[in-house]
Amino acid sequence: MISLRIKMVLLTLALCSFELLNGQSLLPVMYDSTLANHQVNVVGNLFQHSTRLNNELSRKFIFGGTINDELSQKVYENQSDYNRVGFGGHIGIEYRAPNQIFKSKPNWSWMVNVSNEVHGAGEYSNDLFGLVFIGNAPFLGGNASFTNTSGRFEQFLSIGGGIHDRKTKSFLTLNAILPQQFFELSVNRGSVAFSESGDQIDLRFEGEVLRANSYAYFKGMGAAVNFDFNLPFGNSESFNGVVTVVGRNLGAYQIHNADFITIDTEQSFTGFSLNELLEEDGVEALKDSLNVSETNKSEFKMLPGFLQVGKVVLANSPTKVQSFFGVRMYTNRVYRPLIYAGVHYQPINQFSVGAQGSFGGYGNFRLGLYANYVTKQLLIGLGTEDVLGAIFGSQYGHSGLIRLAWKI
């Protein structure tokens, strides 16, 4: 069992799948005010977080495998009326140039970045979980509700450039957004009732689906800004430090010519009649009665961006122990404001570790760990925002973070 847990930790920290590399970069940044020259940064992140989906189940989706009936039942019993889940991934590379571009701003230079991002978020009821993973057996003689279910999944490329301050490390880039996948489901009202013997099904469904369907490689186009603003506060006599305002993917894009499907139906089904089976269009007639409407339309969608404000740690601090804390918010309705706070320990200049606690987001409490190794030209940072999730199957999330920086 112990070896399995170690394996899980290593697997998570090593981000051993390409899919796992997609995500937001949230590893605590060490603020370094020394002047930078050429610098290449690679950042990768994966997270999955939920209020009620435990890791024993979610690892079956991350690493594959069979979800047995016992596990499905156990997780189903743990669901509440309202549950949230989110996942995301990011891999990005950026280059920061050392060249001065404004006479009056000697520290300002240019930078370019490209990244690939995937993000999904959803909210669902315990009944919907039961229908999907157990079937209708628990609901015979009863009703399953999935009103207010929603889900969204998207994947897009971001390519852009901007300016950065070589000393404060603040930057601002403008990026073109090229969506490659998009799917959104929204159920305003939904329920299904089954008779005791399963010979009657009563369905009430009012919802819509928006799905990118263009044959083009890119399904639309948009724009977003990324930025870091590092703002020193306090003085040497009082509590001081640097507050960083982080913005990523703050923008929107348009999905071109997407499939828009609406369903508004109230049906009672007790089986086909013989005539319906014998007539060529008998079964089709039942489908028609579901009142499915399919059209195409182009629609603007907010990007799954986020804003984070928090105190960061200083790379060249005279103290070995520093605090960091802040708040993070995604631009979607499923995500709850996430607050975090942690302690950073730097026993020697080349190496530092830290721990943090966070609450909110797509789930509840998580405990994070990270470690940084720095040389004159190289920085390697590994971390997780959910160390307990990496170990215990009873937890509700996974997180893996990596940052590689090469100073030339």
Partner: protein, 522 residues
Amino acid sequence: MKHKIFIFMAVLLVSMACRKEKTNWTSDWVVPIVNDSLLIKNYVNDSTLDINSDQSIQVIADRTLLNLDLSELIKIPDTSIVQTFAISFASLELSPGFTFIDEVKEHEFTFDDVVLREARLKSGKAFIRIENPIPTKGIFTISLPGTEKNGQEFSHTETIDGGTIVEPGVGFITLDLSGYTIDMKGVDGDLYNMLRSKMNVKTDPNGPTVTITDQNIFRTNVEFKGLVVDYAKGYFGNITFSDTTTVNVDELSNVVGGAINVDDINLDLIISNGIDVRAQGNISLFESVNYSNNVVSLNHPYFDQNLNLNPATGQWQSLTPSELYFTFDNSTGNLKGFLENLGSTYNVGYAITLNPYGNTSNGNDVLYPQSDVKVKLKANFPLLVGADDLTLQDTFAIDFKNDNKLLRVESGRFILKSTNTFPFGAEVQLTLLDKHKNTLKVLNSNGKISPALTNGNTDGHIPIEEQIEFVVDEAVTEALIDTKYLMVRAQFSSTYLNNNVVYSNAALKFLLSSQLKLKASL
């Protein structure tokens, strides 16, 4: 430096090295598939079945085996007639509003062997071309004496622009003749197949005075097209309709085996003559062809004989066809064997001749709108049937979509719940077929639907509720992937071999549902 680049790249490659296997889970679903009832009462009011006072079912069938197309009997060919008119003087000065009238002219329709004295048109049109050769507008009135509708003679007036002898003014008119009755006896009433017409020309009352000569010819060209008669009087000729017609009984086309026993049968084969004309009927063949191409020809002492058919009596709404009966019962010919052959195809050979002895009606044959000549089958007997492994088989196109990579059936069972009050039971078998209709897998049930027993009052059968199941195992789920057709085979047997009375409460209510374990793979 190279060392550091290597470390940098190594971390990236390790990060991308792993790949994920599929995530699988199963869920259990109970879903109704087919839910229906076969009630004998539903067939009572459609002139097929009736209920006797003891609640037993009586077969009362009245079916038309063939209905002759009489439109070919009196068919007016498309006809074109030209009527011209010129003055009989060398020249004449016409003041405005001057009127001159042509004489009534007769036009003959050409028929082979039909003599019509009177006819009513169900449909048809006249396309008229009028030429005006004088240099002022002409007001043309076309009328058809003897052609009336609701007591009004057919007449149409059209103004045609003026012209010259070389280039006359031309007008085109299309007239609907539907519903007009034509007296075809000619001006003096002693002819036949005649249509009369008359033309009236008036010069423009507001036009100039013009001079015409006998070279100015007023010409009218009338084309009759698509004239269909629904009433006719005359002599319809000596004509014979003969053919061998095939009647398919779809309800029996699914029988593939077994036998039935029928008793106490009464059937009448009838030739019906709805025309007021003498005729002769001849039935030369009535044979049954079953699923194994076994042919049984029905015998009757009157078959293959020319039998006289009287003219229909009455007229218009009181028209009553005359009928020639061929009656069959258990003592006549081989009716029992004929019916027990369970033919799904029946061939009827017939010949019906009108006016076999010539114009004996003196031109008074009458065809009314509702006239028809038919061969009918009438039945009236109690439903007493025994079934001995009577096997019905049918094939439905179906796609279980079990090759779906996201969701597929892993195992389960199909459950058939039934409530039966027929004196017939059945053993049901399902066969999965591929796109070429080759057998992939046969699903046998774990039981059968039993025939019902008569209740104590002998006015109905006691309902039997049963449940049979078809197991869907791994082999079946594999076969479902390629299944494109489902063949259902039901083998029926009755409570008794003979004389099973079917009562009015006879019904088979059934619900086919599935209890399936679905496997999802992501």
